[in-house]
Amino acid sequence: MAIVAQSTRRGRISRATFAWIVGLLFFFPIFWMVLTSFKTDADAVKPEHLFFFTPTLENYLNMTENYDYWRFAQNSIITAVFATIFALAVGIPCAYAMAFNPARGTKDILMWMLSTKMLPAAAVLYPMTFLTKSLGLFDTKFLIIVVLMLINLPIVIWMLFTYFKEIPKEIIEAGQMDGVNTWGEVREILIPLAWGGIVSTALLCFIFCWNEAYWTVRLTTTDAATLSKLIEGNRAPEGLFFGRLSAVSTAAVGPIVVLGWFCQKQLVQGLTFGAVK
């Protein structure tokens, strides 16, 4: 084994270097966006100012003054938070029943739930717009919350289900013997035991809600418009204004990327759907 260890010493160094290069390459577009957001629009397209320029906060100040960034951000936070809470409120009982009292059809129901996510949203966009407008729900936060909750519900239930399955049935049964009712079971046994899983499910759901850009763009105009709508409105013909564009983009993705950094371990666990240990 000594020979192996020796011969790989140089290999280890080059491996580490290579890994760093790959990591930096993947991060580069984000770095570039943040860097450009501190350039003026004129500097942003000048090759001589690629890396050397006088940083400015102009773009950010502009953004909060002219675009009402905080209103969009506030809508994003409100809709994502409430959609996540409701998805958990509906998802936890469902996943609980499926994990601890599986019936014959449980697997099929789970599969069916996941398959609803494959339906192309564009196919039902027009009926949805028609319905929501006639119900007076168009461009309301309530509608966005409900839609975000529904599109993420299948993933939420799947993730919770895989976490709950890990909990030994005996623990739940012991609770039943002690005469604890179902609500008590969920509150005092299930939730504490699966807390880590519930938190990572919630985080992932929150991230997906935040990044959703199909319904949030098409079912809103102003009142319920989220950050993805702000990006939508800022992209096309103004392509030359890279500085401004970068600032808006950075402000839209920044919070969620930082959140992701802190919770990456939990997120990965959840995303494997319990099939990878």
């Binding site: 577009p29 039902v124 096309a236």
Partner: protein, 312 residues
């Protein structure tokens, strides 16, 4: 309350909500796909509101099938999804193997690597198509220009000048053209989803049997054969998961297509529906039904093959 009835009661809210979410719009789409229904028509104002008297039978379906964009859109959808799946799995495995062993700063590299996954798809598209891939103002344009400048400078150099005189000027690629915009979409989505594949494969690699590997080293197995016969089979299940979850997300890819290929021929099925829906709701609905059928074929295939193994 009996122990059997309660579980069913607990899952009803979720099931009913998803049923409504799926059935109500879908049945409306189905209805619209059989009638003549347009948003604006000066000559036939009666077509502008949905009504059974405008029944068209399979006319909308015929119209869509005969539309030259339709097959192209299906083909494009499949090419884009399959390329992304292929690339993310390959890159995912390579990078996961690369960073599987401890090295200085591994934690930071992991954080750098996962970041693209959290970027909003719309921002991803805007960022890549404008600031990186743009042939003039983007990094691509700047890089190509500076390479050309360097070569121009070298042409007058004493000895090697003759050699560089043979070099052509490099032309930057425009990623907004019909043929290339699909590539741009593939690049940006691969960038966003490779981190996801890396993290899943890495989690799986950490549970690989180390003793088996050491035994293989003692037996004189090469690195390649160890990868081929030990690591790759171990990754079977995670690959299945990566493929399934990505297929779910990429079949309905929209924001990237819309931002990159607005107005050119690079359409996928969701985008084509959006285009029809600008006026011809009947045709848009019929295309939607085709898209639902396509999604169902993929779903049955994937969920039967992959999903069941996840449940065990």
């Amino acid at each position: 309350m009996s122990n059997r009835r309660l579980p069913r009661l607990l899952q009803t809210p979720a099931v009913i909500l998803l049923l409504i979410w799926m059935l109500v719009p879908l049945s409306m789409t189905l209805y619209f796909s059989f009638i003549r229904y347009v948003l604006n028509s000066l000559s036939r104002p009666e077509w502008t509101s949905p009504s059974l008297s405008n029944w068209r039978g399979f006319g909308n379906y015929n119209f869509v099938l005969n539309n030259k964009d339709f097959l192209l859109a299906i083909q494009n959808s499949l090419v884009i999804v399959c390329s992304i799946l292929f690339l993310t799995v390959i890159f995912g495995i390579l990078i996961a193997v690369l960073i599987n062993k401890a090295f200085p700063g591994r934690g930071i590299v992991r954080v750098l690597l996962i970041s693209p996954f959290f970027v909003m798809p719309a921002v991803n598209a805007v960022l890549w198509i404008n600031m990186i891939l743009d042939p003039v103002l983007g990094l691509q344009g700047i890089a190509v220009e500076s390479i050309n400048d360097v070569i121009d400078g070298l042409r007058t150099a004493p000895v090697v000048g003759g050699f560089f005189n043979l070099w052509p000027q490099i032309e930057p690629i425009s990623f907004r053209a019909t043929q290339t915009s699909a590539i741009a979409v593939i690049i940006m989505v691969t960038w966003q989803w490779t981190p996801f594949a890396v993290l899943i494969f890495m989690t799986s690699l950490q549970s690989e049997d180390q003793q088996q590997k050491e035994a293989a080293i003692l037996d004189g197995a090469s690195t390649w054969s160890m990868f081929r016969f030990l690591t790759l089979p171990h990754l079977g299940r995670p690959i299945a998961i990566v493929v399934m979850i990505q297929a779910i997300f990429h079949l309905s890819l929209y924001a990237e297509i819309e931002i990159v290929s607005r107005g050119n021929g690079n359409k996928n099925l969701p985008y084509l529906i959006g285009e029809f829906a600008n006026n011809n709701i009947g045709a848009a609905s019929a295309t939607g039904i085709f898209a639902v059928i396509l999604a169902n074929i993929v779903a049955i295939f994937l969920l039967r093959m992959v999903g069941k193994t996840l449940m065990e």
